[in-house]
Point group: C2
Chain length 542, copies 2
């Protein structure tokens, strides 16, 4: 495996630094055998630890003393067993396996109050599920803001042994992206849920495999950065960048996953085109691009050809889109071996496109289409649900996001158990509204600012073909609407289309793509726009 943290000093340190191999990121716990399917067993202790993700010491939620948590790697058909031991002192915890469908194991989805009671301090919970689709996935805490505390890691599924991916590559590199704040997640969370709301502000840093810099930049001398100093890193620091080591003239698959709390990111590599081949564990029609936008919860695989001048190194650059960025770019080096990593690229890092150039964002997103041979959607849906996405107030002062004017307040009894056993009193048996008022003006702040709370659920018959119209709208502020990613548990869905304004079944039906819509588990809605997705309710669970 070629990728590891620098074993050469980073410029401008003049002497070789300690060798610090982060090979635990890859291959942890894997025992290869000839058997067609295996059980991959992991024992994880979740605990807080002091760590310096961006060169400033802070608390992170780690697993087995690692941050990010260990990478799970398995083949299609394998059973993953994770015994998670909660070593936190006062906090409960659960882990969600983002993108894993959990067919037959809805109890293992790892969502507090939905699929399970959260696991108490000192206790353990064993997740067990089959991975049935190759691709790039991740896992993360799904209680409170524990994901923002650092409880996440990669989950990579390879094809069955003997099977190949439908594209060739020589080596691969895995990048897990996140955003990081210096403020505790508790202050972040209580701030967001207080009246008046205390906004957490923009993240202090962007992390690549849990590594970033907030008080210096590795490209300061190449960029016109305000008061950002050139990093002095030996390479052995917890915040030393994760270096992408490559050999010349090879094809690399770079897996890129975003587990950010807030930030939409843009990823680019200087002088290298990216060939997008996978999105959320689904193959896409390959297309070349200079950079990709990646929203929280999404994953991509891109192929690069290391065919550039081999005597140079190149920047890997991450910037924020969709919000006026106040966070320094996340940077690291594509290191052509045997160049020393300290040999910085000759030109500045790729510049992130303007944060509010939404046309560019859409242009990228619209290129994502299913690869030939991908499953096609049913041509008609049997039910269509409209979800109007608004920012509201609750009880006079609290700021809440609402769907069709209902803000979810989770019940203390998990839905899955309640529904299986028939505990009808634990949540509202009336489903939430399936649409919003016809005359709602999405270009204005909500006329009724006050949302209600609710915990009702939509129920589907097995086999129902469901369209969900995600409808964006103006926030509480005039002429303001935000990009938001949406994720569906237990199902991939086809993204049938995107559009401006209010979706109209009459006028927009013909705009939907039923030919080669991409399958995803996460999708965005653009400001003042709509996104339509379709899924088959074929996986009993909640």
């Amino acid at each position: 495996m070629a990728t590891k943290v620098a074993n050469q000093p980073l410029f401008p340190m003049p002497f070789p630094a300690m060798f610090f191999l982060l090979s635990i990121i890859f291959g942890f716990g894997i025992t290869l055998s000839d058997a067609v399917s295996q059980t991959r067993h992991y024992t994880w202790e979740v605990e807080y630890m002091f760590w310096s993700p961006d060169c400033k010491e802070n608390l992170v939620m780690g697993i087995n003393g690692q941050f990010p948590g260990p990478t799970i790697r398995a083949n299609v058909g394998d059973t993953v067993v994770v015994e998670m031991i909660n070593k936190l002192s006062t906090e409960d915890v659960v882990i969600h396996w983002h993108g894993i469908l959990q067919k037959g194991t809805p109890w293992a989805d790892g969502t507090a109050s939905i699929s399970q009671c959260a696991t108490n301090p000192g206790e353990s919970f064993t997740y067990q599920f089959v991975v049935d689709k190759p691709g790039t996935y991740f896992y993360h805490g799904h209680l409170g803001m524990q994901r923002a505390a650092g409880l996440y890691g990669s989950l990579i599924v390879d094809p069955e042994e003997g099977e190949k991916e439908p594209f060739h590559y020589d080596e691969e590199i895995n990048l897990l992206l996140s955003d990081w704040w210096h403020e505790s997640i508790l202050k972040q969370e209580i701030g967001l849920s207080s009246s008046p709301m205390r906004w957490i502000g923009e993240p202090q840093s962007i992390l690549i495999n849990g590594r970033g810099q907030s008080n210096c930049s590795i490209a300061a001398k190449y960029m016109n950065m305000k008061k950002m100093e050139q990093c002095k890193l030996s390479g052995s620091e917890q915040c030393a960048p994760f270096i992408l080591e490559v050999k010349p003239n090879k094809i690399y698959r770079i897996r890129i996953t975003s587990t950010t709390s807030l930030s939409a990111l843009n990823f680019a590599i200087g002088k290298h085109k990216l060939l997008v081949v996978e999105a959320d564990g689904n193959y896409v029609q390959p297309f070349l691009t200079s950079d990709i936008d990646i929203y929280s919860g999404e994953s991509y695989s891109v192929l690069i050809n290391t065919d550039q001048k081999p005597s140079e190194n190149y920047w890997v650059s991450l910037g924020i889109r969709g919000r006026d960025p106040k966070t320094p770019p996340g940077l690291t080096i594509l290191n052509y071996l045997p160049n020393p990593v300290s040999k910085l690229p000759t030109s500045p890092p790729p510049e992130t496109p303007k944060w509010n150039d939404y046309d560019r964002s859409k242009n990228f997103t619209f290129q994502i289409l299913a690869a030939m041979g991908s499953p096609k959607p049913p041509l008609k849906s049997t039910r269509r649900i409209f979800l109007l996405n608004t920012q509201n107030k609750m009880n006079g002062g609290y700021t809440k996001w609402a769907i069709n004017n209902v803000s979810l307040a989770l019940p203390s009894t998990p839905y899955l158990g309640a529904i299986k056993i028939g505990l009808n009193h634990t949540f509202d048996q009336n489903p939430p509204p399936e649409t919003y008022p016809e005359d709602y003006d999405i270009n204005k702040p909500p006329p009724n600012r006050n949302t209600i709370t609710g915990n009702g659920v939509y129920r589907f018959q097995i086999g129902e073909i469901v369209d969900v119209v995600l409808q964006n709208a103006n926030t509480l502020n005039d002429k303001h609407s935000e990009i938001h990613p949406w994720h569906l548990h237990g199902h991939d869905f086809w993204v049938l289309g995107y559009g401006e304004g209010k979706f109209s079944s009459a006028a927009d039906e013909t705009k939907l793509n039923l030919k080669n819509p991409p399958l995803r588990n996460t999708v965005v809605i653009f400001p003042f726009g709509w996104t339509v997705l379709r899924f088959v309710a074929d996986n009993p669970g909640v």
Copy 2:
């Protein structure tokens, strides 16, 4: 009730400020009736909230939007019912009723892993117990460091209706003392349990009824304080001092309880002597003193006569003892009505005795003796347990306190339920050692620095008369031993004596006071010394 937060501006603000009556501290939820015993019902929501206990905004763990939590007030024989609803997002919670014996209700003691499972987010737990002894008590969170987060309040038990206290007073004032850090409890806790340990440092402020000042002093202009500015407070701030309003020539009972995490405090009022009458809910032989030492978990009632010059106000002063103090004194005003509170005393606040003047500390403590008519201890014990109190290392690097070289590691199944049901596998059935090696030198750091962990329990037959010898020793640092308070749940105990060096049953037996030893629920051990206490095991529970 005369005591409340200033309704007059505090010097040097020139104009009257908002009237801010903190009467909720007293009488909350009380409904008086003629019935002999009543049920006092409380419904509490525990949640984090932004608060400025010492003029710096921070998170506190509050109850029903209050900090400190509501005061419980009941009469002897009353049943207290507290339905506690956990409104925290990710944390479990329990509440311990410090000093309440819980006769017949050991399950209501509120100790996580001992008497109950901690209560999960979104769930509730109803505590129900009878208060059977008049006195000054308090309650606090008993999981992780939730007490240090601010989860505490007063619990005051009056005699049965129609009954009187054995001393006269006209009015009363209740003071709950605590220490406060700006760092989150999570960083404090993980810091203490990390290797290397990150010491939390001394508290930023001392709080009186949840109010203190860290960035200014109300007595700055009277004291030679380094860089401490004179406070500019109107009186309506959350950190404005809790003013002790009194009328001249009356007797006031001042109840003083310490729920500090670390600090031993000294309490004094300028020009007023204190007559100590109660300690931990037990009447003591009244004695006059200029100031009292109060350790975490202790409570006292003192009587003062407001017989000083009525045209003046007087300082109430709190300082730290037992540790080299780096915390500004806790200060407020004894406000002789109708003087304006802004009229500061003419002389400086009483000075706290030198932190390491242990002779003075002992002199105060030794004066605490049982009031005439108090229950006397049995003259002989049937069992004597020695508890050697050492600071150790664990697994090479972690700093732990240990008893007889065992550091408690709580089991995930609460002892009480495990023992009642007979789940013998949930904890070690072998009791911990009842003594320590005879040749142990308490004047030197532990020769074996490594402690083991354990979760065994001492078991007693009903009616056993138990002596506990609390033996202090040198910490890990040369020539260093610390004061520590010890608290026993479910029982008051007689404090039979204190001494220097190692307790010797042969030589020190005669020094024990069997005539009028005070009953307490909390007691200290002095540096390099011992304390012997005796209790009757008459309250089945854990």
